[in-house]
Amino acid sequence: MRPAAVVPPPPPALRVRSAVLLRLLAIQGAWNYETLMGNGIAFCLEPALRRLPGGVHAPAFKGAIARQSRYFNAHPYLAAFAVGALARAELDGEPADRIERFRTALCGPLGSVGDRLVWAGWLPLSSYLALALFGLGVSPAAVVVSFLVLYNAGHVALLLWGMRTGWNQGLGVASGLGHPVLRRGPAFMARAAALAAGIGIPLAFTRVVGEGRTFLGEILLGTLVGAVIVVKAQARMEGWRFALLVVSAFVLYSVIR
C-alpha cells in the first residue's frame, strides 16, 4: 500500500503572500558584512509570522523574529525557497534548534545555484537578446521594455515558485532543490546565453561601428587581441578595469597630443 501523501496546510492569505512577495524584492535592503541578508529574511517573514498564536506580542513571534534576523546568506531570488520553508516551519511550531540547523544547511546551495542560474545564466541571456534587438535597429523603448519584461518574467516566476515550493515542502524543501530547473537549469541557461552571446555581440558591434564600417579590420584585430588580454589577465584584472585603462589612455592621448 502506498503511503498517503502529506497534504501541506493551506497557504497564508493572498494579502500575506503579496506582502511577503513585495518584501522579497527588498530582501537585500540592509545587506551587510556581518549578518549578510539575515535581517532581510526576518523582514520578509514578518507578515507571515503575525499568524503565530498570540500575534506580534507573543513569545513565539519574538522568538521567531530573533532567530530569523541572524546571519543568513543565499541568492536573493532563491531566498524565496528559504522564506517559504521557514514560514511554514515557524507556523508549524517546529523546534527552534531544528529550524536553526535547517537555516544553516540551506545557505550554501541557495547561493551557488542562484548565482549560476541567474547571474551567470538568465541575466546575460536577457542582456544579449536585448543587445541583438539593439543591433537589429529596434527602437530604444522596445529594447528597454523587451529586456525588462523578459528578465523580470523569470525573476518574478522564480520568486513565486520558490515561495510556493518552500511553503509546500517546509523543512523538506531540500528535495524541492533537486528539481530539474535547479539541477540542470544552470548548464542549460549557460548554453542558451552562449547562443544569445554569439548572436548579440556581432549585431551590437556592427550597430555601434555605424555606417561605412570604417576601420573594420583594425577593430576586429583589436577586439581579438583585447579579448585574449582580458581572458589571460582575468585573475589580476577584471574586464571593466581593462576598459577603464584603455579608454583613459586614449582620452589622454587625444587631449595632450
Binding site: 523580470n152 583585447g226 582580458v230
Partner: protein, 227 residues
C-alpha cells in the same frame, strides 16, 4: 548648469542605484536601461541606447555575486546617458568621454556601496539587543534604514557625478584632437574585447557551451549578411 538640471538626473540615478542590490533588482540598473533612461530625460533616448549598449558589453562581465565588490553601473549610466544626450551625437569624442565618465563613477559607486554595507553593519549592531529580543520594530528600522541610505547614496553619487562630469566633459572636448571614426573604432574594440572575454569566462566551464556560442555567431553573421 542649475538645480533643475541636476535634480531629475540625481533622482533617476537614485532609483537606478537602489535597484542594483536593495530594491527591486528589476535590472533598471543595467546600463542598457539606465543610460537610455538618462538620455531620455534630456530628449535623446537613441544616444542613450547607443551608450548603454557599449557599457552593457563591458558590464556583462560583472556578476553581482554576494559579498564581491563590483562597479555600481546604475547611477553612473544614468548620468553618462544624460550627459551624452545633452552634448549631442555629432560632437566628436563625446561618446568616448561619456564612457570614461561612466566607468569612473561606476567604480566610485561600487566603493560607496562597500561603505554603505559597513554602515548597515553598524546599524544592525546598534539594534542587536532589540533584534535578539525579537523586536519587530528593530527589524523594520534596520531594513528601512538600509533602503533609504542606499537611495540617498545613489542620489549623492549621481549628483556628484553630474556636477563633476559636465564641466570635465566640456574641458576635454575643447582639447579633443582625434577623429570620430577612430574614437568610435577604439571604443568598439575595447567594449567587444571585454564582452568576448566575459562570454568566454561565463561559458568555458559548461560542456558544449562554446559550440552554442559559435552556432550563435553563425546566426548573427548570417543576419548581418542578409541586411
Amino acid at each position: 548648469m542649475n538645480a533643475l538640471e541636476v535634480v531629475p538626473v540625481a533622482l533617476l540615478g537614485g532609483i537606478a542605484g537602489l535597484d542594483t542590490v536593495s530594491f527591486p533588482q528589476a535590472m533598471i540598473s543595467r546600463p542598457l536601461v539606465s543610460a537610455t533612461l538618462g538620455a531620455a530625460l534630456v530628449g535623446a533616448p537613441m544616444q542613450g541606447l547607443l551608450l548603454g549598449a557599449i557599457l552593457e558589453l563591458i558590464a556583462l562581465e560583472t556578476l553581482p555575486v554576494g559579498a564581491s565588490r563590483y562597479p555600481e553601473w546604475g547611477s553612473a549610466s544614468v548620468v553618462a546617458g544624460a550627459i551624452y544626450g545633452r552634448t549631442g551625437a555629432g560632437v566628436v569624442g563625446a561618446v568616448m568621454v561619456a564612457v570614461l565618465g561612466a566607468l569612473l563613477f561606476a567604480w566610485f559607486g561600487g566603493w560607496s556601496m562597500v561603505a554603505l554595507r559597513r554602515r548597515n553593519a553598524v546599524v544592525a549592531r546598534r539594534h542587536r539587543a532589540a533584534l535578539e529580543a525579537g523586536s519587530r520594530g528593530a527589524v523594520l528600522d534596520v531594513q528601512l534604514s538600509g533602503l533609504t541610505s542606499d537611495f540617498a547614496r545613489a542620489v549623492l553619487v549621481s549628483a556628484a557625478a553630474y556636477l563633476v562630469l559636465v564641466p570635465a566633459e566640456r574641458l576635454v572636448l575643447l582639447h579633443w584632437t582625434l577623429g570620430e571614426r577612430l574614437s568610435r573604432a577604439e571604443l568598439v574594440a575595447t567594449a567587444a574585447s571585454v564582452a568576448l572575454g566575459s562570454a568566454w569566462k561565463l561559458f568555458h566551464s559548461t560542456a558544449g557551451a562554446r559550440w552554442f556560442f559559435f552556432g550563435g555567431l553563425g546566426i548573427g553573421l548570417l543576419v548581418l549578411g542578409m541586411r
